[in-house]
């Protein structure tokens, strides 16, 4: 800005004014090179003349007599005048400067010359001890980082990573007693592959998962859609559906075992009300064709509330204006569900499907307590089969082989899910 002013008023500058300017420049730059902004002046003073001005100024200060002050002879007036002239703050920087130059022309000296530039502070010097401090700080941070993660590392090493490797190594061993094992190569795996019971268990887990996918995914969606819209009792219904999710598996399984009871269970008893004169006796847990469905019903009963919660969170994120457009075009409820809600909920539905599959494959307590794999092994799932092999028949090597299969199965499902979600993200 200052350069601009010099450009504009440069023609009319008197010697006095120039000296004032140089003074200011000197003051604002202090040790810096005073000649830099002055180069733009039309009447550029040479280096000698700058020195000249400085000398003249010294002289003037020594004599204490200058311009307007020299006109008035009394000392009193001199002191007062210097203090009286002040620039109003409303003026812009440029106007102030112009005024200052104008007064200078008449030989008046200004006390409060606006400073154009702030005094620049020198950067703090880099000292050796500062580097030391930085290094110490970094070392402390690194040490703390390691120290904080160490307990977790030790715990995970002992109770997560080592067991995984041990599962693989035990799968190649045969245990005569629990303390003596010998290396038998692949024979465990070969036995498992030709073990009809193992494949039955896999099949049962698969059937269970299939039922869970169909009922455990679409039923909660059906319920969630209404509960989201409901005008009355929406939160009560949500809570009622959610309580079974928190119910521990053991009491739930015992409760359902009692309800499924063939002779005296409440389900058969209630069904009998609809068939007068005839006692319904469905063997929910004793009929080999029904038992998996019965277990799946318990599983779905337990997990519906959770799925409803997830779906309702997903529903909140659908933009409202889609439905307004649909309403203007006269869309029916069914077409709104089909064309707006289902496509927007795809990621949520996928998440629910996969979590339900993985949980369904791992189901243990319900099966173990309600049927213990019975009748005649028709509800044996992978987890119960593994448990029995390891802790009932003490065939630990064989059970570890089953565990390895199980691990591969579940990791495959998880990786498949990750791939799907990544592909969907990439498609967007």
């Amino acid at each position: 800005m200052s350069d601009d002013i010099f450009g504009k008023v440069g023609n009319e500058l008197s010697e006095n004014a120039i000296s004032g300017m140089v003074e200011e420049e000197l003051r604002s730059h202090k040790k810096e090179d005073a000649s830099l902004p002055i180069i733009k002046l039309k009447l550029a003073p040479t280096a000698e003349s700058v020195v000249d001005i400085a000398k003249r100024r010294e002289k003037r200060e020594k004599s204490q007599v200058s311009g307007f002050q020299s006109l008035s002879s009394s000392n009193l007036a001199k002191v007062n005048l210097v203090n009286v002239i002040k620039l109003p703050d409303t003026l812009s920087q440029t106007q102030k400067l112009k005024k200052v130059f104008r007064y200078r022309r008449y030989g008046m000296q200004m006390r409060d010359v606006p400073q154009l530039r702030r005094e620049s502070k020198p950067l703090p010097e880099r000292r050796k001890q500062d580097f030391g401090k930085l290094r110490r700080y970094r070392a402390q941070k690194k040490r703390l980082g390691l120290g904080l993660i160490m307990p977790a590392m030790i715990i995970f090493l002992l109770f997560s990573w080592m067991p995984i490797f041990k599962t693989f190594s035990i799968a190649f061993q045969k245990f005569q007693t629990i303390n003596s094992a010998e290396y038998v190569g692949l024979s465990n795996f070969l036995n498992i592959l030709s073990d009809a019971k193992f494949w039955d268990a896999c099949l049962h887990s698969g059937i269970l998962s299939a039922i869970v996918i169909v009922l455990g995914t679409w039923l909660p969606l059906f319920l969630a859609l209404y509960i989201y819209e409901a005008r009355h009792g929406s939160s009560l219904m949500k809570v009622l559906y959610f309580i079974p999710f928190l119910t521990p598996a053991v009491p739930a399984a015992i409760l359902w075992k009692w309800m499924y009871n063939q002779g005296f269970g409440v389900i058969n008893s209630l069904l009998s009300l609809f068939t007068p004169g005839h006692q319904v006796a469905i063997g929910w847990l004793t009929n080999p064709h029904l038992v998996l469905l019965s277990i799946a019903i318990v599983f779905i009963w337990k997990n519906t509330g959770w799925a409803i919660l997830i779906y309702m969170a997903g529903l909140q994120n659908i933009p409202k204006n889609l439905f307004e457009d649909a309403a203007l075009n006269g869309a029916s409820v069914a077409s709104k569900i089909k064309n707006i809600i289902l496509p927007s909920l795809v990621p949520v539905i996928m998440a629910v499907v996969f979590i339900q599959i993985i949980n369904g494959m791992q189901v243990f307590s319900e099966v173990y307590i309600m049927t213990n794999g019975g009748p005649v092994g028709s509800s044996e799932v992978i987890a119960t089969y593994m448990y029995k092999k390891a802790f009932l028949y003490m065939d630990i090597g064989y059970a570890s082989g089953v565990a390895v299969f199980f691990l591969f199965l579940l990791v495959t499902i998880t990786l498949f899910r990750m791939n799907l979600s990544n592909a969907r993200k990439a498609a967007k």
């Binding site: 715990i155 997560s160 995984i164 005296f264 919660l309 998440a351 802790f391 565990a403 691990l407």
Partner: protein, 304 residues
């Protein structure tokens, strides 16, 4: 005024806002759907009613058909007393609370420390650690149960001291501490915390350890509550691992104790009384922490 509130509520409705309900067909769909959902809610809670009913019925009535129960209904609370005397429930509750409490406390401390380290301090081999932790999430607990059991039986760290931890609290607590999922939840929380918090504390002269314990932990109180409640419920409900590592009644957790009662072949009204007793903490917990539990379940699922 009421109308205005009604319309405001309507902002979030997709299928059945007010203007759609003026259509007769839509109103029919809305009502029928509502009846089905409400009926489903009642059916969902029927098992609990049946549990209570069986527990309070006299011995002679529990095997009767529904119609007979309705006609000569009478209350007999003696089965609760019998169930309480049948098994040391006080001990089971104590064991469950001790195990779940120590697992949760340990988990939170360990996970929060590890997550803070991974999020803000970036320890060496950051990528490797993250990958290793991520891999443990995919692994189901059932597959590592066998080696863990063997490890608990001959517990030793680098062969220095040998202990048999079967039938001790340690066997129930230690494997529960390794939960990578908590670390990721904590990490995603810390990642969102601005670094300015930490910088400001540093300027104020806090040491790095002090920053963690006096700034970070108090800030993350909300997430700690959620994680604590959810993990407490999980450990409280766990059955598979206690079944493997305990076979002495004085170490049984509540779930295992209940299971042993049914294994003994007690009459159903006593079993149901025991189940009711075991459900009391869950119901109480749900009443007190309903919001946190629902929020936590949502949060953890959506994190995955």
């Amino acid at each position: 005024m009421a109308n205005r509130k009604f319309l405001q509520d309507d902002d979030s409705r997709y299928l059945f806002p007010v203007y759609e309900l003026k259509d007769k067909k839509n109103r029919l769909i809305y009502n029928v759907w509502g009846i089905i959902v409400a009926a489903g809610a009642i059916i969902t809670s029927l098992p609990f009613l049946w549990m209570l009913l069986t527990a309070i019925l006299p011995q002679g009535l529990i095997f009767a058909p529904v119609a007979k129960i309705a006609s000569d209904f009478s209350v007999d609370l003696s089965s609760f007393k019998k169930a309480w005397e049948l098994a040391p429930f006080g001990l089971y509750f104590f064991n469950s609370i001790l195990v779940a409490g120590s697992v949760v406390a340990g988990q939170i401390l360990i996970s929060a420390m590890a997550a803070y380290s991974l999020s803000k301090l970036k320890p060496p081999m950051y990528q490797v650690i993250m990958a290793l932790l991520l891999s443990t999430i995919m692994i189901p607990f059932e597959t590592i149960a066998i080696p863990l059991y063997l490890f608990m039986r001959d517990f030793s760290i680098a062969g220095i001291f040998k202990l048999n931890l079967i039938n001790t609290y340690w066997a129930l607590i230690l494997p529960g501490l390794a939960n990578a999922f908590n670390i990721f939840i904590f990490k995603s929380f810390f990642d969102k915390l601005p670094n300015d918090f930490i910088e400001a504390a540093r300027v104020d002269g806090y040491g790095e350890t002090e920053i963690f314990f006096r700034i970070i932990l108090p800030i993350s109180r909300s997430i700690i509550t959620v994680i604590a409640i959810l993990n407490f419920v999980t450990i409280w409900n766990s059955f598979f691992w206690p079944l493997i590592v305990t076979n002495e009644p004085n170490i049984y957790t509540l779930m295992l104790g209940i299971y042993k009662i049914i294994e003994e072949g007690q009459p159903w009204n006593i079993v149901m009384a025991a189940v009711t007793i075991s459900m009391v903490p869950t119901i109480l917990g749900f009443i007190f922490f309903q919001k946190q539990i629902m929020r936590g379940v949502l949060f953890t699922t959506l994190q995955e």
